[in-house]
Symmetry: C2
Subunit: 146 residues, 2 copies
Amino acid sequence: MNYDAHESGAGHCFSKDMGCESMLLQIDFNSDEAIYMQLHNQVIYGIATNAFREGDALPSVRSLAEVLGVNMHTVNKAYTVLKQEGYVKIDRRRGVVIAVDLDHLKDRQEIKQELLLVLAKASCKGISRSEIHELIDEIYEDYGGQ
Amino acid sequence: MNYDAHESGAGHCFSKDMGCESMLLQIDFNSDEAIYMQLHNQVIYGIATNAFREGDALPSVRSLAEVLGVNMHTVNKAYTVLKQEGYVKIDRRRGVVIAVDLDHLKDRQEIKQELLLVLAKASCKGISRSEIHELIDEIYEDYGGQ
DNA sequence: TGCTCTGTTATATACTTTGTATAACAAAAA
DNA sequence: TTTTTGTTATACAAAGTATATAACAGAGCA
């Protein structure tokens, strides 16, 4: 049973559990961002937008690699980094599943550090504190509020 | 005249124009972040915190490389990227000087894109919209308000 | 029991990035 | 004139990225 070869339900991608997820995981081969990092970020976008939910299984490294036309190890690296950062875990029965590991104090500190650089760039470019708050709100409203 | 060898004013680093700036530009050789990117980011932090002001000259690639104990080309790469991103320009008489190129629409879009990823990570980790706003305010207050 | 699929690990290869080393050039400054 | 400047060129080593092929044990399924 191949991940990309489900002839049943021809015409729509909602016939299988994994069909929808694969639609989110796509690659821009012209991007200067590493493929595994593109995949990594898209899984995070997926979790944040609730397209991936706690306990959902991601495609297997082999099947996703085949669908995307990349090497198995490239997908595996994306999953490995996600695991190290506490976004997924390995379920021996179900494969790689979404399982976000929370460590509020540590997470908050890391997010603050990442925000610091973005805010410094914004400040250099004349983007004010209030405009940053506006941008934050814009993003949340682009992706469905709270 | 070496950048690091000014015996005059022994004991303080404010005796030369470039003395203060060099104090900001330091490297963590244990970091997994590329050296040129560390330098790149620190110049941006410096501009944002007003430690570097419009028209200020940065140390020459050779002198800074010598101070930091890295190769000339590593510093040159940091400066080249900063130039491409519109943070500095080359003044044939003064060297590399802070000169922020503003393109509000483009800058705003780029900042929004960078914020999107950070906010997605935060969302995954259970950090709420209001907590993000708090973090933004914390950062601005850590570095002197508006 | 066999067979398949899973994540994982190991090797090998090729390309790019990163960092270093040395050298040379023209423009500007001292 | 001599030094310093950014810039460019070349060469090299190490690390990161991506691919290719192969094998392993654990789990699910027929």
